[in-house]
């Protein structure tokens, strides 16, 4: 027997096994060597500016000063339907992460997020949440799992004031009906070549999301849920049809929608900030990320409510909940609640926290005062707005059409069952209308309805 060869083989095998074990040696969240609790949290969107990062770093440092036994580390995060479940299944989400209102119920039912009830209730505002928002985060046991945290939004119509002026339109008089939207879009597209007068998201489920917005604004609904909880897809309703006809007319009769039709949430923001899009619909709070990630020119920004037409029309509303990793230890959950309090909620309750946060944002040239909808009560939100009034850096006057108009509007929640599947089923319909002059809207909606119903049935 060749001893050298055998030895070499053992050495090689030992070496490779050693490398394998070295790979598997990851550090879990929780106590690190210094005895501090390590907490990973959601930070900024990928591609955020250096100033935004500096502001967040300062907040983290400030938080760690208040709680020396917690070590906070933030990661870049953008919620996307396609990556969220992979992150969730792969265990690569941070300890504290953000989810849309509509996802909370499934996550709670699947035991995928932690029960935060005792931690939230221990907070002075634990029982003061806006029940309309909090209901999404409650489990069947009545416990709070997901916590209303930020971006409680209603959809608004965002427009570029500079392009309005260039097209001879008055930027202080944004459109109030859908036919005015169409008319203005045409004027802008004619006056400023290469610019889309109006653009619409169409990919990664955002096409379905914005079509739902347009449907609600015309009085339609995407799902009807019976008393026994069985849901029926109703995406082939008259309002949705009208919304698609509207897009078709602008795209093919007016040619006022530009040349790109594969926008999603992030890329339409980018195009808008770059002045390539004059009008689009998205959450009213998108201004913050337009500044942080896209460097929008504040003077050119305008926000108004979307036109509401027809009986029972309303504004699609949604929001972001904070959730905690289901595998988090008690120490991590405790630290997570402190962070959620510090980063998301405390500022609405305490004048000191509100002012401190606002000052820090101002010092780093970050937007302060983007219009919000109440996480607690409207009176409380008014009070918060008064606290931060001296520090407001966003062009509030240019958002006045929205803040005035939203008051009387009916908020409507997203379709409750299989939300993302339903949106995914509608994406091809929106894309077909925007890329095929002869698209048959009735057939498209019939197909989408079948697909949505299939997903709803599979979910229940």
């Amino acid at each position: 027997m060749n001893k050298t060869k055998t030895f070499a083989a053992f050495a090689a095998a030992a070496l490779s096994l050693g490398m394998l074990t070295a790979c598997s040696d990851d550090t879990p969240s929780g106590d690190d060597t210094t005895g501090r609790t390590k907490l990973t949290v959601v930070g900024l969107l990928p591609g955020a500016t250096e100033e935004a990062k500096a502001a967040l770093d300062q907040q983290v440092a400030d938080f760690e000063n208040q709680y020396p036994d917690i070590d906070v580390e933030w990661v870049e995060y953008e919620w996307k339907a396609t990556t969220f479940s992979a992150d969730l299944a792969g265990g690569t989400l941070p300890d504290v992460f953000e989810i849309p209102l509509t996802d909370a119920q499934s996550l709670i039912a699947n035991s995928q997020i932690a029960d935060m009830d005792s931690y939230v209730k221990a907070m002075p505002y634990g029982n003061d949440f806006n029940p309309g928002v909090l209901q999404y985060g409650l489990g069947p046991d009545g416990h709070i799992y997901a916590i209303p945290a930020k971006s409680i939004y209603g959809i608004g119509l965002h427009y570029n004031r500079t392009l309005f002026t260039q097209a001879g339109l008055d930027p202080d008089k944004p459109p109030t009906t859908w036919s005015e939207v169409r008319e203005y879009a045409k004027k802008i597209a004619d006056a400023v070549p290469g610019v889309a007068g109006y653009a619409q998201m169409a990919t990664s489920n955002t096409g379905g999301w914005q079509l739902t917005v347009a449907t609600y604004a015309r009085g339609g609904r995407m799902e009807s849920v019976a008393a026994d909880g069985t849901a029926t897809a109703t995406v082939d309703n008259a309002a949705t049809k009208a919304a698609l006809e509207f897009l078709k007319a602008m795209r093919w009769d007016d040619n006022s929608m530009g040349a790109e039709f594969n926008y999603d949430w992030g890329s339409i923001n980018q195009a808008f900030a770059a002045g390539q899009v004059a009008m689009y619909t998205s959450g009213q709070d998108v201004y913050t990320s337009l500044v942080q990630a896209n460097g929008v020119d504040p003077d050119s920004y305008g926000l108004t409510t979307i036109p509401l037409e027809g009986a029972d029309s309303g504004v699609l509303g949604g929001g972001t909940l904070a959730a905690v990793n289901v595998k988090a230890s008690d120490e991590v959950k405790d630290a997570a609640m402190k962070w959620i309090d510090y980063f998301y909620l405390g500022k609405y309750i305490s004048e000191d926290a509100a002012v401190a946060t606002a000052q820090l944002q101002v010092a780093n040239n970050q937007p302060v005062g983007t219009p919000e909808l109440p996480i607690f009560t409207s009176a409380q939100l008014d009070q918060y707005n008064r606290w931060i009034a001296p520090y407001v850096t966003v062009p509030l006057a240019q958002m006045k059409p929205f803040t005035d108009g939203i008051v009387g509007a009916q908020p409507i929640a997203e379709p409750p069952v299989a939300t993302q599947d339903l949106y995914a089923a509608l994406d091809p319909a929106v894309q077909a209308v925007l890329t095929d002059q002869n698209a048959d809207i009735d057939a498209l909606l019939a197909t989408a309805n079948t697909a949505a119903q299939r997903a709803i049935d599979a979910n229940s």
């Binding site: 060749n2 055998t6 096994l17 339907a81």
Partner: protein
Amino acid sequence: MKRGLNPKKWVQRGGLAALLFALPMIVIFGVFSWWPVTQSVVMSFQKTNLVSEPRWVGWDNFEWVLTDPNLPIALKNTLWFAFLALIFGYPIPLIGAILMSEVRKRRGLYSALAYLPVVVPPVVAVLLWKFFYNGAATGVFNTILGWFGLGPFPWLNSQDMAMPALVLESTWANAGSTVIIYLAALIGVPAELYDAAEVDGAGILRKLWHVTLPNLRGVLFITFILQIIGTAQVFLEPYLFTGGGPANSTLTILLLIYNYAFGASVGANYGAATALSLLLAAALAVFSIIYFRATRAWSTT
């Protein structure tokens, strides 16, 4: 005594050492390749969210997949992609390699240039091309074509143009590796054969047809099946360029699998995704076997 069945003899012949040398690869393959494959077979008969206890559902996942109206669309698109890739992507590297092997000077430079796109990370390449493909008249390609009075073309914003646009990028990105393989094979063609053909009065085309191609057939045969398997699993281009749009015109099988698993956020259907993966693997295996059987006589010299 029979060979190979005696453990003592096996050890003495260095079998143990061979096994030990192979062990790291066996472990790595086992853990990262065979174990996941086994897991996905199990998962295709389950309903699971990867967190709570999975539930056995029999053939339900397969039924769900086979009744999905998107499946025929994805199948058609995948075949369309494979066909286009065959038309453009198969001959271009061969022609490139033959031309390169004919030039006397700077052969190294040309092959380096041909290989350059392979060095660019695929995601970067796609994002660059996405920018080039901008549908506005000011887009890069539209500007260039505009100099010749062509366009502007909608590229990725047209249901008819999107797929060819993806194939164009994919050919550009992948041709380099195939060119290198062909170049290596061309070196192996004995020069005497060309000399003999020349003596017989053969021109360039006849030399190509009667000498070069027959000598390359072993390699051509392998690159063909690799190309078919590769294009059947096309994912990167439709995922990054179009997300399957516009209106499902670039939805491929693998993208459909991805959508099942990850497309609907928390509504993830991992069972259906693994079921369709298995169906795809089975179809490719069957195709490969038929192809190898049918071309067995042809491939052996």
